[in-house]
Structures are given as structure tokens and as C-alpha cells.
Symmetry: C2
Subunit: 156 residues, 2 copies
DNA sequence: TCTTGAAACTTCAAGCTTGAATTAATCAGC
DNA sequence: GCTGATTAATTCAAGCTTGAAGTTTCAAGA
């Protein structure tokens, strides 16, 4: 899937395949760099960061299933990540509405404080990593990605 | 990292962050769909497919370290995937040049046959999934992704 | 009420992934 | 030839990820 150089594919329909390969390579490269920096600078991981980012925007908390849907990962996956964040004191589970099946998850005060520091660094890094995309180009690319993605939203 | 809807970020430098988020969501969504189909239709996985794709283009074989570099994954990771592909009879290890540290990996005949079938389906799927990107738009997007990626190639 | 079905989570096995440590082989300089 | 550094690959522990199976709870109809 991350295929690349050697014999450049050609023929009908190859342009979309090539686009997909580029897209995947780009995101994997950036992802690897961000993961590495999160580890080095903050001793944390990308999945933990993702979860905290989602929770940071939802001060009232989120359900496990909301997190799962939002982050595009499986239900069981979220359980494990939250477990670890809880044991680090960054996240708390509460059981407060009528429905006893659900547990509302939110950042602790410490989690919120910690996240805002990491998020600032993260944003700076992304700015650097995408440094040679102009702001204008970034907006155009974003638009294109949105349009083709919408075809798929919510289908898998 | 896969953050999205809620309070749209704004301010200086946010355009690149938004681009990154879109990029990541797009590739995760497509990746999930392809993974699911590979599993359903061919009982295989994305990493196995990636490795086979790389080997398919290199009939003379590749070193483990070449695979690792090419696929952007760690060395130890490749070992495990190759182990499984070997046990499935799709890949073989050979030790043939002067350097006894290296082992050359290549597809078996069965592996090659199997891969070409899967690859055809894969290409069709990608065509569908990116269906509402015109071929022309695909080329433009590819160009943009290439230019901003080149900044990072080989740096992490 | 009871019971059937759906929903929210958790648990689990298998596989993927990383980074670090280890082993084995080669190479460079003496 | 030795020695020390480098390179190729494997092994390992820890964590991420999935899909499936299981548990508990809720909802709605007989």
C-alpha cells in the first residue's frame, strides 16, 4: 500500500491509485515524526494524544462509544487506552446519568493542564512539518480532501 | 489527531493543522475500508499486502532492511510479517550473496499468483473509494502531496 | 410481568508496531 | 591478523488494534 518508486504504475484508473499511495505515504511519514516527538518530548503516544484531544473539546465528557466513533477506532481499543490514561491520572470515568451501561469519560484537571501544553507543541510541529505548503494551498488541499472524503463518511 | 467537527480551530497557522487532520482522517477512513475488504474477501491483512506489493515489484528479491525502509516500518516489524508470510507459503527467504548477515526475501510462485489477484481487486476498490475525485483532480492532488512530502523524505 | 432484542462496555486472542537490546557478520585501520 | 565500529537481522516487552464473544443494562411489546 505504501508502494512507490520503481515501475510507476500506468494505465486507466492508475491516477487514483497513485493518489492513494501518496496520501498514505504522506500521512505515515508525518505520523511517524509526530509519534517520535511525542515520545521524546512528552513520553506519551499518539493514541493517548488523540483521545485527550477529543476529550479536551468536550469538557462535559464523552461516552466510550462516542470516542470510538469519533476517533475511528474500535470499541475495545478505546477501553484499553482509557484504562492507561486513567492509571496515569489524566482521565476519569464517571457514572452519573440514569443509564448504568454508559460511563462518561473526561479529562482530569491534571489531564487538561497536561494536554494544553502538549497540544501547543503539537500544533507547532505540524506547522513545521507542513511548512512548505502555503496557507492558501493548505486551504485548497483541505477542501479537496473534504469533498472526496465525504463520499465515505460513516460507511465503514 | 483525528480531531474534527466541534469547535473549528481558527487563528494563525491553523490552516496547516486542519489540513493535517483532514489528511489523517481521509487516510484512516480509506485504510479501514481496504483492511476490512482484504479480510473479508481474501482473509489477509494490510501489512501482508504491503509487503507482498513491495516484493512483487522486485522479482529478484529484497533485503529485510530494504523492506523496512521502503514500507516505513521498523525492522523488527518486518521480521514478524515475513515470518507469517513464509509460514503461509507466500514468501521465501534465501541466503545467497556473500554477506551472510543478509537474507534476501522474495515471493514464492504461489505468492506471486495470489498477489496479482488481490492487487487487481485492490486497485478496483481504490478506484471506487476515490470515485468522486476526477482523474485530473487526482493528478493535481498527487502533485501537491508530493511537493510537500519531499520536505520530509528520509528525515525521520 | 416477562421476555426478547438492542445498546454500551469489557474481555480476549491474534496480529501489528515500536524502540531497545542482542547476536552475528563484515569492514576499516592498524 | 587484531580490534573496534558498523551493519543486518532477530528477539523482546510494552502498547496499539481489530473483530468476536460475553456481560450488564435498558426498552418495548405480549
Amino acid at each position: 500500500m505504501v508502494a512507490g518508486p520503481l515501475p510507476a504504475p500506468s494505465g486507466p484508473g492508475k491516477d487514483r491509485l497513485r493518489l492513494w499511495i501518496r496520501l498514505l505515504r504522506a500521512s505515515r511519514t508525518i505520523e511517524a515524526e509526530l509519534r517520535e516527538r511525542l515520545r521524546q518530548e512528552f513520553s506519551t503516544t499518539l493514541p493517548r494524544f488523540d483521545v485527550m484531544a477529543a476529550l479536551y473539546r468536550a469538557p462535559e465528557g464523552m461516552l466510550m462509544s462516542d470516542l470510538s466513533r469519533f476517533l475511528l477506532v474500535s470499541n475495545g481499543n478505546v477501553t484499553g487506552i482509557i484504562d492507561r490514561l486513567v492509571s496515569e491520572g489524566l482521565v476519569m470515568r464517571a457514572r452519573r446519568n440514569g443509564d448504568r451501561r454508559t460511563s462518561v469519560v473526561r479529562l482530569t484537571e491534571e489531564g487538561s493542564k497536561t494536554f494544553s501544553v502538549i497540544a501547543a507543541a503539537h500544533e507547532k510541529w505540524v506547522g513545521e512539518l507542513l511548512g512548505n505548503v502555503s496557507e492558501d494551498e493548505a486551504r485548497r488541499l483541505t477542501g479537496m480532501l473534504t469533498s472526496f472524503r465525504s463520499n465515505w463518511e460513516g460507511r465503514e
